[in-house]
Each structure stands twice: as structure tokens, then as C-alpha cells.
Amino acid sequence: MATGTDTKVHLVREHALDLLKQMVLIRRFEEKSAELYSAEKIRGFLHLYIGEEANAVGVMQALGPDDAIVATYREHGHALARGLPPGEIMAEMYGKASGSSRGRGGSMHIFDARHRFYGGNAIVGGGLPLAVGLALADKMQDNNRVTCCFFGEGAAAEGEFHESLNLAALWNLPVLFICENNGYAMGTALERSESNPDISRHAEAYSIASEDVDGMNVVDVEAAARRAVAAIRTGNGPRFLENKTYRFRAHSMFDAELYRDKAEVEQWKKIGPVVRFTDWLVESGMIRQADMDTIEQEVEQIIGDAVTFAEQAPWEPVEDLTRDVMTPTAQDGVLS
């Protein structure tokens, strides 16, 4: 993981390959997840990040291990980019006890304390107040840490979004708000849910500096995130990035996609984050086809191992049903 102290993107070959590999990992991981969903290994809701990889990968470059992440139900990509073990993420989607959240949460609730990854929130807008609070705790404890909160453009219509932006700005808190604007909230196009589709206008109304970012370009995203994080670390309060991106797949596995036509999807796929970055790197001569093949092989290996891990992981015994409802305390004979 990048240390997040640097404010510029240095696109040396190693870094380029790393960015590319992370995006490919997410892409293939999601494709495998879809496959496993059809095979009924993964159940419940499954929201794929395919097409949006540049956002999680680009932003994470700007964050350090001490920073915190709050994400949504569409968070596999963020978890992978944050460096959570793919096997644990996959096991979580299987509902196995070795999963990131002991299998209790599933696809929508991936948590990892070691990586300060605070989920995995399935309530649209619900993660924003949480992020504000994490940042408030940092500010009150003089921790120079950033809390990065990802959410979709659909969340901007929720009251919680507005209350959170106001609190973060009013109290000058170190929050990086990342609006992943993929144009749709389930089947509702942004123009049909916001009287003014320019979400960053709202950030400005709270006096929060914001930037519009090409969310299909990982380098642009990394650069914008580094600028924003650097600004936040100077103690000048929150920043807001509106990343224009697109979801190539259905909202969830239940979505018949009645609300958009295939042509639109195809248009966006042409400028997909992986293909675009690859072509550019190849053209610029920074990488060769062989590099791509290596990446695909390594990624295949990682995902294969993740699936094996998930397959072999144990189920939580039914006797443990009520564990982790309340925290065991000393008098329960367990240390909290």
C-alpha cells in the first residue's frame, strides 16, 4: 500500500503495473463472484464493482495504513484495493467462519479492523455519519489520520448525506468524501433523482472544496485523491471528490436492467478503466503484452487460492448463533 504521504503520482513502471494488477484483480474477482453466485455458493445480494475499479484503486493509493475507510454494499473492490486478504473476502461471501466478518455479514458487510476497514454498509447514506464520527475521534485525539468515505450518487438525496457534510465542514474534520457517481441508483438515473445533478454543488454549499474526477481513469483518480488527502492533512477540513464512473453490470443479481439501453453500456465499456489504462501503457511502451499475461496469471492464482480458501473454510457452528451480539466483558470470563 502507498504511504499516502506523497502528493504526486509517479507513474513509474512498477507503480503502473501495480495499479493495473489491482484493477484486474478486482475485475476477475467480481467475475468469479458472479459465477459463484449462479452456482449458489454466494447468496443474498451481490453488487458488482465491474467498471468502477479505477476509483477504489486510485483513491487507496493516497491513503496510509492508519487512515480509515467506510464503504457501501458495493465494496469488494474497496476491500481488495485496501489490501484485505482475498480469501477472507471470498469466505465472507460464502458465509464461512473464516470470512472477514466471520461470515455474519456476507457480501454487503465486509469489515477488517487490521485494515481500519469499517464496512460494508447496506443502508444508502448510512456510512457518512459514521465516517464523520471516526474523523471527529481523530480530531479530538490529535491523530493526523484521514477517514475516507465512499458512497454512490444516489446517497446525495438522503438527509444523512447533508447532515454529514455539514457536520464535517462545520467541525473541520479530516474526511475525504468520495461520491462514486455511476449515473444510476438502481434504476433511477441521477437526472431523475436530483433537481441539480451536479452533486459537487452541494459540497460547495457547505463550503467544502470539491473536484470533479474522471472515475474511469485510475491515474486521474489517484492524483485527485492525493491532492485532497494532502489538503486534509494540513488540517483544513473535509474534501469532496465526485468521480464520474459507470457500472457495467446490473445493480444486483436481481436487476433486469429495464432502465438503460445496452448501447449506453457499450459506449462506457469502450472507455473502461482496465482497457483504457492497458492500451495507454502499451502504447506508451511502458508495458508489454507479456506483462499483461503475467498479471492475468498472478490474478488467476490469487483468485483460485481465495476460492479454495473459502471452499475449505469451516461453517460457524449453530451453537454460536448468538455470539457477537453483545461484547463479552470481564464478568463473562472473557476479556473485552
Binding site: G44, G106, H109, A122, G159, T188, V318
Partner: protein, 329 residues
């Protein structure tokens, strides 16, 4: 004997929506993704083409805002049907439902009624984990000024909406998400509405009264069926209306059987089952031969894995065990 047809619960809801829109131009449907998407559970699929986007109104993600707008539209002469995608998100709209919809008539000294229907999916059973599996019907059933119904059968899904729309006060309608694909018989065209006032006896029996509602009815009937093979004859009551509760039907059954088991997907503490148990012993204490049993959800946020979700929520086995317990078998 009237002719009947077979529909899914989803189709029944859709047909009821369509009919309501056709019969009364003041009726409109408003909620997240009810239009172009066709509804999160596809209940309103195709309706936007038929009725247009003004009457099949997609809303932004603003549960409090559009629920309150539904209240205002009802005051303004319309007959709104607000769809809150699931009860889990209704937590964001409770201020409008409890502080406004439920109080307006009383606070205004009877000047303003709120003829609003709020539909929402409820319940667990689809591996959606802790934030998407609530069964909070008991919360709504606690609030004066609201009427709460829960169609457990396809026929009720078909008939209750129109009756709810005739009600001058806010009606909350709970649709258990595991029911949408179920098939069932409904009356032939024309005969659509059904009462909201009375509980239904879905199976008559003399040994034990099983009292339930919504998604738990299937499991309860299943348990009753299996018990009958053991020679235990259960009566199964489907509450249908959660507020007000039909005490008469409950008590007449219990005074016949002298034993009751309440099956409720809500968490046990503070469940609707608790209220019903309290009422039974208040109103039928001296005819009880055994304590009233409750089969509820275990007090844990609903876990994702199937085996844990099943263990956390009422199942036929647990219901059968409770029945045997009341019979000291």
C-alpha cells in the same frame, strides 16, 4: 362457489395496484424505483407504461421526504400509495409516520384525516443479513392513529389494497419478502376487496391454537400438517390485521383449545407475540390449561449464512416443539 384463478403474490399485488389506479384517479404509487426499474420486487413492473410517470412516480432516495410528501398529498385530496422498499429503510421515515401521519387527525381536533397507504416489504429468509432482515411490524402496531395489515395469502395480497385505500386513515401494509413468488387462488375478476378487520382461521382444530401472521403462516401450517400426522389437531389463525388485533377470533379459538402458541418472526423481547400472549391471559386466563408459548426470532441481528439465519428465525420444528410443550408431550 365463485370461479377462481391462480396468481403469484407479486402478480396479485400488481393487479391490485393496477385496479386501484384504474378505479380511482386520485390513486398514485410513489417510491424508490417503482417506475422504470419496475419495483425492487417487481410488483409495479409495467405500470409506468400504462399509467405514466406522474402516477407511477419514481422518487429519489429520500424516505422521510417522500413519505411525508405522501402524507401531504393525502391531505391535498389524493390517495397515495407510498412504497418504502423495505421496513429496514422505513427507520428513516418513522418521524413522518409516527409524528405526523399518526397524530395529524388527533392534533387537529378531527379536521384532517390522512388517507394514505404505505406498503413495505418485511422480514428475513433471503440471506440479506442484519440491515436487511428486520421484522418490525410490532413497532407500527404499537402506534395509535395507524392501522397495520399483513396479507399472508395471495388472496389477501389481491384484496387488501383496495380496502386499505378506502380507509380514511393511514394504513401500513407489510408484504413479507419471501411471499412474492408464492402461488395461490384468488377470486375471479370483479370480486376484489376483502375486509381488514377480522383474523382468518386458516385451519380448524381442537387441540392447540396457533396464532401467526405474514411470512410465518406457511411455516405454521406446515407444522400443523406434520402435527396432525402425530394426531395433534391444531387450529391456525392468521391475524391479517396487526392493529387493531381481532381479539374475538383469538379468544374464541383459545377458549375452545385451552392452549395457544404464537408464531412471530419478530425478536422475542417486545414482540407482537408478547402482546398477544398478554391479551390471551388477560381475556382467557381461566380457560388456559398451559402457559401460552411464543415462537419468535432469536435475539440476534439476522446473520447472513443460511444455517444461522434459519436457526435465528421461526421454523416448523420449533413450532412443533412449542406445541408439544403446551401439550406436555
Amino acid at each position: 362457489m365463485t370461479a377462481t384463478r391462480t396468481l403469484t403474490y407479486r402478480e396479485a399485488i400488481r393487479e391490485a395496484l393496477r385496479e386501484a389506479m384504474q378505479r380511482d384517479e386520485r390513486v398514485f404509487l410513489m417510491g424508490e424505483d417503482v417506475g422504470r426499474y419496475g419495483g425492487a420486487y417487481a410488483c409495479s413492473k409495467g405500470l409506468i407504461e400504462e399509467f405514466g410517470e406522474a402516477r407511477i412516480r419514481d422518487t429519489p432516495l429520500s424516505e422521510s421526504g417522500f413519505t411525508g410528501a405522501g402524507i401531504g398529498a393525502a391531505l391535498g385530496g389524493m390517495r397515495p400509495i407510498v412504497e418504502i422498499m423495505t421496513v429496514n429503510f422505513s427507520l428513516l421515515a418513522l418521524d413522518q409516520i409516527v409524528n405526523t401521519a399518526a397524530t395529524l387527525r388527533h392534533m387537529s381536533g378531527g379536521q384532517f384525516s390522512v388517507p394514505l397507504v404505505i406498503r413495505m416489504a418485511t422480514g428475513a429468509g433471503r440471506q440479506l443479513a442484519a440491515q436487511h432482515s428486520h421484522s418490525l411490524e410490532c413497532w407500527f402496531a404499537h402506534v395509535p392513529g395507524l392501522r397495520v395489515v399483513a396479507p399472508a395469502t395471495v388472496a389477501d395480497a389481491r384484496g387488501m389494497l383496495w380496502t386499505a385505500l378506502q380507509d380514511p386513515d393511514p394504513v401500513i401494509m407489510f408484504e413479507h419478502a419471501t411471499l412474492y413468488n408464492d402461488e395461490g387462488e384468488v377470486a375471479a375478476e370483479g370480486q376484489v376487496s376483502c375486509d381488514l378487520d377480522n383474523a382468518a382461521i386458516r385451519r380448524t382444530g381442537k387441540d392447540v391454537s396457533l396464532i401467526t401472521y405474514s411470512g410465518s403462516l406457511k411455516k405454521t401450517l406446515d407444522a400443523a400438517q406434520q402435527l396432525s400426522e402425530e394426531g395433534v389437531d391444531c387450529e391456525v389463525i392468521d391475524l391479517r390485521s396487526l392493529r387493531p388485533l381481532d381479539d374475538a377470533t383469538i379468544m374464541s379459538s383459545v377458549s375452545k383449545t385451552a392452549r395457544a402458541v404464537i408464531v412471530d418472526e419478530g425478536w422475542r423481547s417486545g414482540s407482537l407475540a408478547g402482546e398477544i400472549s398478554a391479551r390471551i391471559q388477560e381475556q382467557a386466563f381461566y380457560s388456559l390449561d398451559a402457559p401460552v408459548e411464543r415462537v419468535c426470532s432469536v435475539e440476534v441481528p439476522i446473520p447472513y449464512p443460511s444455517h444461522l439465519e434459519m436457526a435465528a428465525t421461526p421454523q416448523a420444528e420449533g413450532i412443533m416443539a412449542a406445541v408439544r410443550k403446551t401439550l406436555r408431550k
